[in-house]
Symmetry: C2
């Protein structure tokens, strides 16, 4: 790969192709006249179906994008990742979320050590623990079975689990309600405390380092809350953390510690004990394992399928095309399925934290824009929200997700001759077409639809645990592929450090004021000082 | 106002100023060395506080923006709106959401008719109805008091109420749980059905026209569900709809009909019966009225405060500056308050549906980009999600929202010397500073923070109903001001029509297939036909 990939012939040809796509004859409404376009620009793989026929591409562009993938060697790097190479260079670590769903029985080596026995050990501990809780063999201090589980974790220790739990909510039959204490906000804690029975609540503290400020503060609050009811942390708390962290220490009395590993990053960690412990308690371990196996199937597809039928890679290439060549600064994820409501928030973290980087793995400035903004709400809700802008305002590439068979598939009431599920699909089918083709109306400019707005459609056969795993792995692989093409590190997050440092200075000022009401704020920044005055005054 | 406002001197001077702001000496870290900047660029009004000191503006730019407001006559147009003029030209309607929270006793005329008596009548009906339900004087068919309320409504009949209800959740003491059946997805219905007791559930069907496809389909499903339990719609359903709609008809047996008015648009309707009925059942009518009164206070501020201290107007002008001059395509709303989690989704609809337009009220193409993308998650959660990108990737203007006194203010546990609420604020204070000032690190490029990333901070004194109303009204006024500056209509949404038309064609194909399994799909679009085949096959 040349040092500067934007100087390659392929990149320049792609830039020229973007100009070509501005010609009227390359409007999507014309491209879609090709009757073979759908079959040529759609494909099944890893258990899902992807259709990019409404993307602003043609055969020449697709070939150039595949050339880009080849020249940047991303499939080799993806394989290196899966086989345990140190692909996270800035932190000198492997990135082995894929190992967490590897049931092949083959070893995976990190620095000459097979990590699979440890992964299997933790999975086994999760299975046993969740079975014992479900069977009522593990009880709270006062002998009550657990009916509430509160996950104390933020970012990657929260969003993926929340997504998977809400996606599979219909099959949660363990009698346990799941709550997420993510924010350090006492209104997050108070809202949960108002809903739970302390004697029947298990708290899962999740932090790789066990020093995450928000999580530590909430852990402390939870411990005080337990004490106030005469309950013991060693009965009501478990920890998910790294071996040897402050949480994995006899001075931190908890019922059990589940290990997580430095070769699985936070936002890629839902397949590890981070998701495994809460999801197994909520759904039963077997469903968690089915989720892992679905993810594993997509992992193998992402690693092994040839580029031209590799769905995460194709999706990554089209994302780069839309971003770096067509200039779209965002994309929307629109699941036509209410249980997938929290998918956009999880992918927002996964993708934006992984690709919001300015320098390559080697520390050079990246020559192009990197990650875009991701947002989304379920359809058809989104049609009644921001789709006005998507149709007539600023164009936004959209990714539609459809589910062929809903979970609650026995509601057969019809309205206007169709079931509600069919109505949902009528809209799912209509929107990409409306966006792509538009409809001209010179007489009524307010009713003119310019069209030529790109979108993809992904389909799942159902909301099974396997399919939720496939969906997760698809977006993980897609994110990694995009980052590898830009040569940025999808696994670090130095961009969050400055805010932490400044917050630490401000916290110090607050603590000083708590100790001494005469303390005068001196953050070195008059604006920060002013806010400290406002907070301590209690008034606007 | 000249025909083409981008040809005005003011607009051109603003464009030149944007170039000037690129100079190194105009980096925010330098502008913030002015010790008076915070006091000059912050202001209280309408019961909230706004700080724009970390926006990339200076005195000259602020003056030009105020000139722009003056030249476009937006304050006059805002007053016209409040006093009942027909400001929604394409639909020939007034836009009087402000009248819904007018307690002045003064008349408000639409076409020479005072609309206030009708508004007061509906408010009174809401009060009586919610009091009777709370007192157990209105019961279900089998004599059970109502413990669940399901709101059947989508878009503007859903998002604003969801935002207000979740913001005020802590004070919900009526013993009623609120559910939102927005999506036509049966998994939305099934998920709710799994949580409710049908005999103790009241359904509120909300649709101005009573013909919204999703709402009608869900109403039918709910009626069948009631029947299957031997329950009657005339006991378990109420309607919020226009006078004379199909829902306001004796052939539609419901317990009570609450009227909504064509002069209040869907996304501005939470202050009407749309929000009033569910919020009064959930929180009690008095709190709903307090919410209205807070909104009313901000309405008067937005209408009457001079431009230089008019917070919604200043915010609108800065939004236009960031969008049309500095070129930022999005902004993020980051409430440092978990109960405000659904604010971004509501403002996403309010703003993107109102400003995602390509033509002026007169049907001319707008000369600039219009509305941007809005998204957001609460802080500090967002710091552990997409803030990596905000700090080191593509810059995104952010709007931080802080709450001085949390709702659950009795959790005083400290960690690192501060309470959790103080920790939350340490982060709220640190982030805008980190974004603005950055921190250079040539030795470690991955740890370099370019800074110069703009943000605002808004403060509320607490999560009172009044403050939630103020917050709502602030964003409504800001949205209207932005649209008025561009001379687009914030009150119509023709952009959603094409999708509806195409969905209707596809629905027809589905209904034909339901009636006749031999029917061959013929939408005229091979891609749509292919999706119909997939859906009816039940397989990928």
């Amino acid at each position: 790969m040349p040092t500067n990939f934007t100087e390659t012939k392929t990149w320049k040809k792609l830039a020229a192709s973007a100009q070509r796509m501005l010609l009227p004859e390359n409007h999507l409404r014309h491209l879609l006249k090709n009757k073979n376009r759908f079959s040529e620009y759609s494909c099944s793989g890893g258990g899902v179906f992807l259709d990019w026929s409404r993307q602003r591409v043609d055969n020449e562009i697709m070939q150039l994008l595949l050339d880009l993938a080849k020249e940047t060697g991303v499939q080799k790097r993806f394989s290196d990742m899966v086989t345990g190479e140190v692909v996270n260079l800035t932190e000198n670590r492997a990135a082995l979320h894929t190992a967490a769903r590897d049931f092949s029985g083959q070893p995976v080596y990190v620095n000459n050590t097979d990590v699979m026995p440890e992964i299997r050990r933790v999975r086994d501990e999760i299975r046993k623990f969740s079975e014992q809780v479900a069977a009522g063999r593990i009880l709270g201090t006062t002998g009550k079975p657990f009916r509430h589980v509160v996950v104390i974790g933020i970012g990657g220790s929260y969003l993926g689990t929340e997504f998977a739990a809400s996606a599979l909510q219909g099959m949660a039959d363990t009698g346990i309600e799941l709550h997420f204490l993510s924010n350090v906000d006492v209104d997050c804690f108070g809202g949960i405390a108002a809903q739970i029975d302390p004697e029947a609540t298990l708290w899962i503290v999740i932090s790789k380092s066990y020093t995450t400020t928000e999580t530590s503060a909430n852990e402390k609050l939870a411990k005080n809350y337990l004490s106030s009811y005469g309950l013991k942390p060693e009965d009501h708390m478990v920890a998910v953390t790294s071996r040897g962290s402050p949480g994995d220490d006899s001075s931190n009395p908890v019922r059990q510690v589940f290990h997580m590993f430095d070769f699985i990053g936070g936002r890629f960690s839902v397949s590890s004990a981070v998701g495994g412990v809460p999801l197994s308690l909520y759904l039963g371990y077997e469903r968690f394992e089915r989720f892992l196996k679905g993810a594993g199937e997509m992992d193998r597809h992402a690693q092994k399928a040839p580029a031209e039928s590799n769905l995460p890679l194709i999706s990554a290439l089209i994302s780069i095309w839309n971003n770096n060549f067509l200039g779209y600064p965002a994309f929307g994820i629109i699941p036509y399925s209410t249980p997938l409501s929290r998918l956009p928030a999880h992918i927002q973290q996964l993708y934006m934290e992984s690709t919001g980087k300015a320098v390559t793995q080697q520390g050079r400035q990246v020559e192009t824009d990197t990650g875009v903004i991701i947002f989304g709400e379920p359809g058809t809700n989104a049609q009644h929200s921001f789709f006005q802008l998507a149709h007539q305002g600023r164009p936004i590439p959209l990714e539609f997700i459809g589910v062929i068979n809903p979970y609650y598939n026995d509601y057969e009431t019809t309205s206007k001759g169709v079931t509600n599920h069919q109505e949902l699909w009528a809209n799912l089918i209509a929107q990409p077409r409306a966006l792509a083709c538009g409809s001209e109306n010179e007489a009524h400019p307010a009713r003119n639809f310019p069209g030529n707005r790109p979108s993809s459609v992904m389909l799942l056969s159902s909301l099974s645990p396997e399919n939720i795993g496939r969906l997760l792995s698809f977006y993980e692989a897609r994110t990694v592929y995009e980052a590898f093409i830009w040569d940025i590190n999808p696994f670090d997050q130095y961009g969050v450090e400055l805010g932490k440092t400044l917050a630490s200075d401000i916290r110090k000022q607050m603590a000083d004021k708590n100790n001494n009401p005469e303390h005068r704020f001196a953050t070195g920044d008059p604006v920060s000082d002013a806010y400290l005055e406002i907070l301590f005054s209690g008034n606007l």
